[in-house]
């Protein structure tokens, strides 16, 4: 009987040692994890200066005066990654990026002092959107619009809240992920164009963001007072862990 226990203990110890040290019996194999994407985060995201509100909806009791955004930002070289404050997401295989301009490594965490800066902003004349859902710490912080004369905060609040209701976040990550969607809306509120402008490097996340915009159609019709027929919006979707 005692010998049986000895044999059993020896065999168990051997199997455990094999499992953890040599891993020769990795039955599933790494490549068979279809639902896991292997990425490594080189650096933790910088801590936010202010506590991040959990609800991006407008607060009724506080006046909607988003903090003034600095228009001129000559000190920040757009397109050049800053090595200190960045979270770089790398993958074994880079997914195709819609626009060749920014590489996925250049998608950066939204800095508290550069709310309107995204890696793609600045390439054309885009104006920042002032709304309660695009202020600092909000999910859509840093959204920009092609036409600076479109100044209807209510429209952005309603449209972005609608997108937020339709956004089903498909990933859970340890770091910040940002994907920018560009879409165009015509007078009636219909979307005539929507594509991923800056990929997050994660295809499922990009697709979910694009789907959120497409599912939100129709948007509120553009105000009658607005002369143009079309507006184009660049909307960064920001995922932060723990939100």
């Amino acid at each position: 009987m005692a010998r049986d226990f000895l044999y059993s203990a020896l065999l168990h110890a051997g199997v455990i040692a094999l499992t953890f040290l040599a891993s020769p019996f990795d039955i599933k194999g790494r490549d068979s994890y279809d639902d896991v994407i292997h990425v490594s985060l080189y650096e933790a995201p910088p801590p936010a200066a202010a506590p991040v509100p959990t609800v991006a909806a407008p607060q009724p009791t506080t006046p909607a005066t988003p903090p003034p955004v600095e228009e001129e930002e000559p000190d920040i070289p757009v397109g050049e990654p800053e090595t200190q404050d960045e979270t770089v997401i790398e993958e074994e295989e880079q997914p195709p990026v819609e626009e060749p301009l920014p590489a996925p490594q250049q998608i950066v965490v939204q800095q508290p002092d550069q709310a309107v800066t995204s890696s793609s902003a600045g390439s054309d004349d885009q104006a920042p959107i002032h709304s309660t859902v695009t202020g600092d710490g909000a999910v859509f912080a840093g959204a920009t619009i092609d036409n600076a004369s479109f100044d209807y905060p209510y429209w952005f609040t309603q449209a972005f809240n609608k997108i937020l209701r339709n956004w089903r976040n498909p990933v859970s990550a340890d770091g910040v992920i940002v994907c920018a969607i560009y879409f165009q809306v015509i007078k009636s509120g219909r979307v005539i164009e929507a594509h991923v402008k800056t990929s997050s490097g994660l295809r499922t996340f990009d697709e979910a963001c694009l789907l959120a915009v497409q599912r939100s159609e129709p948007f509120p019709p553009l105000p009658r007072q607005f002369a143009d027929e079309i507006i184009g919006i660049t909307l960064p979707f920001k995922y932060e862990p723990g939100r």
């Binding site: 049986d4 896991v36 991006a56 309660t132 498909p170 007072q225």
Partner: protein, 439 residues
């Protein structure tokens, strides 16, 4: 000799444990459905309607103005995306609001304020509505609605519809209709009402049991099942002429009709071949195809918004559960595994969720919803028996029957389960269905 297989079995048991995941920074999750509930309703205020005409008005006109204002307020309060700010003298004093201007509304928490100005030339009520932003103090939308004075209720609904469309882009549902079953003595008759329970009108009066109403997509007819001739058979009633006609008669029962969203077919339960199975009929009541073939009971068909799929309930697993299949009867797939009893499915107009009746703790019936992929089961009610769910045409609200207050009455709520309110004041109300948007 017996020990060796035993040792091998133990060894394999160890090996079957998953290896420790390493350096995984991003994981896919099935559905972050809670995020959809993150967005709070937009606070909105509605000012009392003011008269801007030059002539004197009667006391009755003044009352109608109050009524119409209340309709707009109720509509916007009902709508899932908005929350009505109630003017409360307590808060007015607390916040030291002397005058209810845009600053005052902002202090009360409103984002937008509706101003209603009316003129009453002759028998017509003309209302100009203005939508103003309390934060920027600017007017950004407006319009005019004309209606005869006696249609003050429709006038209010029309204004609320335009406000909803301006702010959300979605069509307003305030001019839609409900049809439901109400017990009258021993009979059960169909009744028609506005979406908020007003303007009730009896549709059938045959002293029999009339059940399972189903609107056609154009809103002109309501198909239903009646015991008028003994066995339950299919009938329809026109909402224009209010005339009832028989659609089809089969041996055994013909029940639970559901008209497809494209308006060409009726899915319905027939027992002419033995047990109850789901068939597809044309609008004249001729069988096009039999969809289910199973010894179990298959019932409660409901169409997907694109008319390509049908969800139904079946007890083929031993207890009623929700299944989906293609519109031709293929690809049957079980959708629900939660609790031992799930019945009466209804497919959301938005296409993403299916709501159904689920038996929960203590044998109560509650409404639950699940994603069409089979994940995201969520309970929506928690008091009394709640049954017969049906979606509003914009997919944002659900009408259902509940016994939470004792008698069985009709209630509505948002798809998230919030904002539950009672519509009827009679016992024995059931089977509510929500009509389509008026053309």
């Amino acid at each position: 000799m017996k020990r060796i297989p035993l040792f091998l079995a133990f060894s394999l048991l160890h090996l079957s444990f998953p290896c420790v995941a390493q350096e995984v920074g991003v994981r896919e999750v099935l559905f972050d459905t809670l995020r959809t509930g993150d967005v709070q309703p937009t606070p909105i205020g509605v000012e009392q309607m003011v008269y801007v005409g030059s002539e004197y008005i009667t006391a009755r006109d003044s009352t109608l103005m109050d009524y119409a204002t209340r309709v707009v307020q109720n509509d916007l309060d009902f709508y899932a995306d908005f929350e009505l700010i109630v003017v409360d003298t307590f808060f007015m004093q607390l916040y030291e609001i002397a005058e209810l201007d845009l600053f005052g509304w902002q202090r009360l928490g409103a984002d937008y304020v509706v101003r209603l100005e009316t003129e009453i030339p002759g028998s017509v009520m003309r209302v100009r509505w203005k939508l103003r932003d309390a934060n920027t103090k600017s007017q950004f939308a407006g319009g005019t609605v004309d209606r005869p004075k006696e249609e003050w209720r429709q006038l209010g609904h029309e204004i609320a519809n335009e406000i909803v469309t301006t702010l959300t882009g979605d069509p307003g549902i305030f001019l839609t209709k409900l049809v439901y079953v109400r017990r009258i003595g021993k009979a059960k008759e169909l009744f028609l009402s506005d979406y908020d329970g007003a303007n009730e009108r009896q549709l059938t009066n045959n002293g029999s049991l009339n059940l399972s109403p189903a609107f056609t997509p154009d809103g002109d007819d309501v198909y239903f099942c009646s015991y008028l001739e003994g066995d339950p058979q299919l009938f329809k009633v026109s909402l224009k002429s209010f005339r009832t006609t028989k659609v089809a008669g089969f041996p055994g029962l013909a029940a639970a009709p559901a008209v497809s969203p494209d308006g060409n077919k009726i899915a319905c339960v027939l027992s002419k071949d033995g047990d109850s199975e789901i068939y597809v009929l044309d609008l004249q009541g001729n069988v096009i195809k039999r969809l289910t073939r199973h010894r179990a009971i298959d019932t409660s068909p409901t169409w997907s918004p694109d008319s390509r799929m049908i969800a139904f309930s079946s007890d083929r697993s031993g207890a009623p559960q929700i299944y989906t299949m293609d519109a031709d009867g293929l690809n049957v797939r079980r959708l629900t595994y939660q609790t031992g009893y799930n019945d009466s499915p209804i497919w959301s107009q938005r296409g993403d969720r299916i709501t159904f009746v689920s038996r929960t703790k203590g044998g109560r019936f509650d409404l639950a919803s699940i994603d069409t992929s089979g994940v995201g089961y969520r309970l929506l009610t928690e008091l009394g028996h709640n049954e017969n769910p049906h979606f509003s045409p914009d997919g944002k609200h659900i009408v259902f029957s509940s016994t939470r207050l004792g008698p069985q009455e009709i209630f509505t709520m948002d798809v998230t389960g919030r904002n539950q309110r009672r519509l009827t004041r009679y016992d024995g109300c059931s089977n509510p269905v929500w009509g389509p948007l008026p053309r």
